[in-house]
Symmetry: D3
């Protein structure tokens, strides 16, 4: 099975952090190809950057989907974007954020999310709201560290995450902890033993679910909300994207 | 006062239909400049086209905002896009869809929307949901006509709208009728006398509210969800948009 | 255009505070006539006083509506009352509370309201709930000052409002600040420059929207929830009100 | 025990219909005194009449509460009014509408309401919404008969109610039937044997609950939302009401 | 009238605490028979124990219902269990938890619940949610005492309850206080005079409402969600329960 | 990996139907052991049977969990039961109903469920509500066939399912079809090609997700809502269950 892992920002290092977790959890025989966005910003923390990323993501799909069984979008914070991508993609597509919350639902009634920075906290809140999961959200806790800290001071970042998780369990009555940033991927396995409730990796969840959709035989719908656009003339787009829009199956 | 009216699709004829209504309702002294999207599709009926339009809209803002007091986005169906545009724009920005629903709220407890085509019906439903107005939605009724019909067979289209509105009032208990497509603009004034409840033009509503925000002195926030992005390095964008993202105020 | 501004309590000084803001924002050519309630209390802080004010408001409408294009009710806290008044009035009617929240919706996802006194805080909460805006309410903050303080110690009151607003933005994640009491009107313009998000005056919002409804041509509905009562025999009411109820159009 | 039964309209015949049901269900030793409104309309079918009735109800309480242990308001359709009356009354107060829905909650997950006339249907819907019971509302069915029919053609009206109830159970999946108009009182006992789910009389429910609140020892709160107004100077009211507002306990 | 009071756990002392309150409030002529569960645990604080109690409760109903007019289940924390019991029982059945919340609804817009222990706090929250009353929940406050303390150190426990209630009124804006544990029954009457808002005993509420349902003539539904199971062959159950399932009326 | 598949009713033929689908989709190396309930009914269509099944399920877990990595409960209709089982089980546990809806969420905004019989339709509705998915439910469609028909007249049943699914897509705007009964398992693969949107097998979904939870390393929580009961003395239970409750880890 071949999965296409698309990073909606331009940061190859964040793509690699997520890809490492994806490959760690993938089943034997699952190949994961990784691509970052062809344009936009290296870290998406505003709605404006997310709007550009929405376009970039479609371009990435058009350019790279060929030969893949399913697509994973490595993004916790862009619900409208992933909905458009689901419609657009010719194979099943899952965003890591929705996959992480779907896993959390199975593991406990209420979950807390660890996030990085105030803008991400707001956008994470809106993702939870958009997915209809607000009644189950115990809290969103800000790690108070930078993406760089997560790499250079990994032990300290892990300790911060453990402390926040324990407090969320005690104070916010969280039953599950979800890692709320792509740059935190890899951490779940390191801290799991120190936390008395499940710790969810959205990337791992997305790989499991993408593999599962393929194994179950789900294919591109030809009716309903996620039936793809066809035969649409677009102007001003790159050739691959333009061609994809105008195709007729 | 100068208002910038942005059409998120590339159709200059739809832009003109909306602009005519905007200019009809505008106060003396209000100048309205109209621009259509620089890339994308001529009619947005899928999430994928909307995702591209989200990018195109930011480009239009960056290219044309200078010298304007407020911006109107002529779109009934793209909530996430207008939220990003509000964050991005350096002056107050209103989408016609949200303006139409805000006016409807003042005029009655429950409203019905006349829309064009099944895809628009679904996306209109999601707009209403995203704005938290679902409890007040009496129905969305499909006109069953094409955009061309609205121009070429105007009298018949008006009759259809009146019949649907009367039925929505009777059957769905609607207290207000909202025109749910840019191509229907201009119709409110023609059919108002034949319908016993208010008929809302989203474009007219947006002009009233945009003028109002300017008169009330509302300016770009520098904190909160709609504070603008600043100092962000973007790659692969057109120069005006790239320059706008990287500016520091 | 002539607007009728009705104060549902008997305090002429509060009526004048609101009227001053209304006239400041009104378009050239808009005349605003102001009347306070003919009976009831001078400040409405309980449901019981509001119930009496509901009757007094209909009496005021019957006595004074003649010759006006629209009506504004200067009240932040009485949703059922303003709904009845909308039904009763022969021209469009807007309450300042709903107008303030409608403006806030356009300016940001979440708003905080500055209120005066614990009873007002509770009734304000219920107004927000009745308008379906609870998911967007960041907080209601009590000014901790009296109505007299707002006049006699204006600078101190302004400073209090600024401090509360800044804290609401920081702590409650508010994107918009709404002035939640008629006696605070006039303050928005004085403090706007000290607050990094929009500050909304409900009275100014109501004037803008009332003018707008008239300019857009909205008239009294003859069907639906706000079609007026007609041909109803009432006993024990003042003659003007009784006569209004029994008229047939 | 003495209960005060207040009819918010001026119709003594409707008061008697409801009083008959109240006395039928009352415990031995419970005395029920009945008063209709001193002003207003004989049948409340609009928000405007309800607004006047809100004032009239407070006047009735002030005039007649003395010597009673609890108050029942015979009204299915006026939530804001009964909330004000709860705050105002010096003893526990229950509206028949809320009592009927509280009984329905105990008897099944979903209920249908039989109502009389389109205006009542709309106001009944809003009562259910205001009480937070919309998720449990299976349907509101219009009897299509007049109040006079209920008296003069009782057998036919009963048959209509039975037919509607059976259809609501079958089609709308109703588990409970609620009589939605004061003029229908007395019917529950006549039709109960012909309907396979419980049939709720709101008046009977209110008597049971009012007696129960007294037996349980619940008294007027002196804090919270329903603490009464005290020491308030009101102008232009009848002497009893004015005196009640200005008292200090 | 004969009421059957079923305790879903095996503790006869808790059954007696609840029964004492039930008999104190019961009308003259109401006889109350009390039975505890035939198997399970002595105090239900987990979902697993509640699942066993759900079976035990049906066994108790089958064994003891004969000759009773209605059934009360003394349980604040098991919504799905009481729904099954309502379906199963051949006479009206009320759980004390739902009865307490129904009483609270009549007495004020928002209520706080005093509970015992963190597990009970969580399960109480879910009961409130399952009954659709979350919008009215001001808070759940943990007494921080054991069931034994309630008996052996009654004065101290009463003082704790009063202090928590006063704080809930002040801080959480509670309008009503509900006793959230069977072991707290009897307290309402002792502390009522020290608290300025109503204090609700769920057991007393359930007796009032069970008596009321009988007086109103409500009988077992033969259609809808609570129509009983009939003619069902069950294996492995005690004979009384098995026989009850397989009967045909 | 060894998975324990528990059927909460006593029907070994339904257990085999579900087990066949489970084994069809399971990964190589996944062993699936199947057990039906030790007591209760052969088909659960009432809340009363479900209450008994809740107990039976815990007995099955206590008797059979040893040596398994995760547990699947083959049940679409019993939310409170599966929550208790999650708490009780010493390894991750998933119910097929929640797994099916979690898969549906990934595949489209709105889903329809095909169910068998009116009781199942009501209980399915409540499952969707309990999982917070009501806003996404397009419809529940009754197959109108018996469980026997599904085996003996498979082709006709398949045709019925296809017709209902196509109508749900057209009329109810469904984007996904979910098989809502264990006896329908196996059908998804046969009808997938005839339906233009995804068809979800809850059993297949549960296998995918159970395998996934194990691969991701999720273990039994020792805090939060699903921490297991320990050291609890239960009376009257079978020895294995009693012993499981009283163990201390």
């Amino acid at each position: 099975m071949r999965l296409l892992f698309l990073n909606p920002n331009t940061s190859t290092s964040m793509a690699e952090t997520m890809a490492a977790e994806a490959r760690r959890i993938a089943a034997p025989g699952t190949q994961i190809d990784v691509h970052s966005a062809g344009f936009g910003s290296s870290y998406i923390s505003t709605r404006s950057e997310a709007a550009v990323a929405g376009h970039a993501l479609l371009s990435s799909i058009a350019a790279h989907y060929d030969g893949h069984d399913a697509i994973i979008v490595g993004a916790f914070i862009i619900p409208a974007v992933s909905q458009a991508a689901k419609e657009f993609a010719p194979v099943p597509l899952i965003a890591t954020g929705e996959a992480g919350l779907a896993t959390a639902q199975l593991l406990g009634p209420r979950f807390s999310i660890l996030s990085i920075g105030a803008p991400a906290r707001k956008m994470t809140f809106e993702l939870v709201e958009a997915l209809g999961q607000l009644p189950r959200l115990a809290s969103i806790r800000d790690m108070g560290v930078s993406g760089t800290d997560l790499v250079d001071r990994q032990q300290a970042a892990d300790d911060t995450a453990v402390a926040l998780a324990l407090d969320a369990i005690e104070t916010d009555l969280a039953d599950v902890i979800v890692l709320g940033a792509g740059s935190m991927e890899g951490m779940a396995d390191r801290i799991r033993d120190r936390i008395p409730v499940p710790v969810v990796s959205p990337v791992a969840s997305a790989v499991i679910m993408a593999e599962g959709l393929v194994r179950m035989g789900h294919r591109k719908p030809t009716a309903g909300a996620f039936a793809g656009p066809e035969g649409i003339a677009m102007t001003g787009l790159d050739p691959a994207l333009s061609s994809f829009f105008s195709r007729r199956d």
